[in-house]
Amino acid sequence: MDACHCIEPQWPADKLLMKYQYISDFFIALAYFSIPLELVYFVKKSAVFPYRWVLVQFGSFIVLCGATHLINLWTFTMHSRTVAVVMTTAKILTAVVSCATALMLVHIIPDLLSVKKRELYLKKKAAQLDREMGLIRTQEETGRYVRMLTHEIRSTLDRHTILKTTLIELGRTLALEECALWMPTHTGLELQLSYTLRHQYPMGFIVPIQLPVINQVFSSNRAVKISSSSPVARLRPAGKYTTGEVVAVRVPLLHLSNFQINDWPELTTKRYALMVLVLPSDSARQWHVHELELVEVVADQVAVALSHAAILEESLRARDLLMEQNVALDLARREAETAVRAHNDFLAVMNHEMRTPVHAIIALSSLLQETKLTPEQRLMVETILRSSSLLATLINDVLDLSRLKDGSLKLDIRTLSLHVLFWEALNLIRPIASVKKLFVTLSFSSDMPEHAIGDEKRLMQVLLNIVGNAVKFTRVGSISISASVAKSESLRDPRAPGFFPVPSDNHFYLHVQVKDTGSGINPQEIPNLFTKFAQSQSSGTKNSSGSGLGLAISKRFVNLMEGHIWIESEGLGKGSTAIFVVKLGIPGRSHESILPFVPKVPENRVPTKFLGLKVVLMDENGVGRMVTKGILMHLGCEVLTVSSGDECLRVLIHEHKVVFLDVSLPGIDSYELSVRIHEKFSQHFSRPFIVALMGNRDKLMTENCLRAGMDGVVPKPVSVEKMRSALSELLEHGLLLDS
């Protein structure tokens, strides 16, 4: 019967069981077909699925399984061989694919698992970032708070406002229950409660500064959590026992001098204030790190703000002080001006009112002197004249000094003759000097100009003062005056190291030295000499005539002439030397051209003033004698020639005005001759001038001649001009110098 070549099913055909199998297979096939569809659908939807080919594999596996089950449906009944073959093929394929898939899955599943791991990791990371974001946000908020706080604090320079604002803002920002500031007292040993936020605790409470909790806070620049039972934290009135956490921070109180730009002076400030912050007791809040940082920053800012406030206070105080001082100075200045005006008015009055009568006295006394008087009367008139001259000098001195002091004195610059100046000065002191039998010598250096430009009157005053002092303080001996052009080296006075005169084309410095053998000066008193009105105590009272102003005035004049004056002395009894250097102009090179001189007499005329002048000439040398005689006669003199000292003495009578002695020949003691001539004429009113004719210019010999009482020296060989000028000078000024 098997003509259909059918295959018998394996199992017996149980109808019910087969029915159920049939249905199950159908549903399995359905499911197996729909699963890949679903997979495809959802994978298509998802963007990321890295294992598509796995999907294909899996899908085909499932499809094949479904096909197998589907084909199985046909095998429940009689089925043909084809069906069986198809079935077998399907099963084989399915087997292959499923095995492949199984193998594949071994690789894939760990991967898939690790994806999951990564996902978990990312989630964790995201959570962490979230947390950090939260932190940053918090910090930013903190920063904002700080900036706002700082702004508030620093917008005022008033100390109280600063502190109050700080407490208020901190309280607000951190939602504090209480905030307090303890300031150190003046003694520095205690802290005093100065500011609180809520004023719930009496102010002025004092706590000693050496508490351990306070030391702990002060020793660190961080905000420190302290116990709420410590004395500084007990800010609630009694009765409330629970308080929130308390934090304390130090606030450095910077002094102005502690400010360093680049770093906070951690170690140098000693003074701190204490800021105490209390969290509310009924919240379970803790102090967070960022809040502590906020507190620390605020404390620092407060410190700065306080210092600025202190600086401002300081400067305001200084400004007030300055204003006061200004006012006082102004007042003083006005008073000084008034005084000066009064002084000037007084001077103006004195100038005229006092001088007039004194001059009248002097003038009339001089006139009286010219009339016929008995010797007693003459003596009286001379005394009157001397006293009133002295008075006039005193007045002038005082007036000069005041004018010098206020700078109103101006030098009267004109051309002057230095030679004339010195002769006149010498003439003035000659009487006194000869009464005291003092030898006065005068010498000029060869490079000294005849004329100079300066204030003649004041220079004369200085010279007279110095020479007068020399004469006054010398009882016996000599006074030598020498004038020269100053060279730089000779000008140094150890007491005036700042004086460096530099001659120029227009000026030279005149150096005058007056040396005397008088009573000397104690070296310690030398600085006082030029002080007004100071008289040396040790020089004895006999010489205390004079105002004591002379040297002070001389010094002023010398300074006006851009010079320097000083006195040297080796001690009492050893004489003294006064030296002054003044700056004078060189005539002809500056614009001064005032010549107070009469132009020279032309050479050819016989000068009438020498006509008939009786002179005596002593010269051993015949030729020289003749030549000199010729010159003198040429000038109009009546010459009597002698060739020896004795002869000279014999023929000399008082009608002879000049005696010329040739001193170049040894063997004749001209000095002794000069002295004897002096003696011969000592009873007379006047004696002839004694002039030495010297062959070699010898300074020592010149000095000796002058010291021996001669009036001058003329160098040989004599020329007409020299003789002429010598005679003129001799007759006009009474003294002759070699030039």
Binding site: E620, N621, G630, H634
Partner: protein, 152 residues
């Protein structure tokens, strides 16, 4: 007149040469200035006295140097005198020689002294010669009716 002019020119040249060569110096000019109408022979007189004195001095000098023991002080004294008179007249070279002579006297250098004595003598006779010539020229000018030109 021509002769006067010639003589004057001769005179001027001569006296200038004397100045140039140092025989005379400015002092001689001074002497000439002193000569005027009241004293017409002044220069001649002075020069004559100079010659006389100098001869005497030179003799004294020679004899004092030739002594056994030379008194240098005395020699110096003579030389000093000679110097004085020669400078008064303007005999420059003589004067300079005297100055040097005096140095040897101070040093008591006999050899130097005698050498310089000869030198001084030599100079003296030289200048004497010149002066005599000069004065003769002056005379000639004056006799010819001219005036002696003054040298400044």
């Amino acid at each position: 007149m021509e002769i006067v002019g010639q003589l004057q020119k001769q005179y001027v040249d001569f006296i200038n040469s004397l100045f140039r060569e140092g025989y005379l110096d400015d002092q001689y000019v001074q002497l000439q200035k002193l000569q005027d109408d009241s004293n017409p022979e002044f220069v001649v007189e002075v020069v004559s006295i100079f010659f006389e004195d100098s001869e005497k001095l030179l003799n004294d000098l020679a004899s004092s140097i030739q002594q056994q023991v030379v008194d240098f002080k005395k020699v110096d004294g003579y030389v000093h005198q000679f110097k004085g008179s020669s400078s008064s007249v303007g005999a420059q070279r003589v004067k300079n020689a005297c100055v040097a002579f005096r140095n040897f006297c101070e040093e008591k250098n006999l050899d130097g002294c005698s050498r310089f004595l000869n030198l001084v003598k030599q100079e003296f006779y030289l200048v004497k010669n010149k002066l005599e010539t000069l004065l003769r020229l002056e005379q000639q000018i004056l006799q010819a009716g001219g005036t002696v030109p003054l040298i400044e």
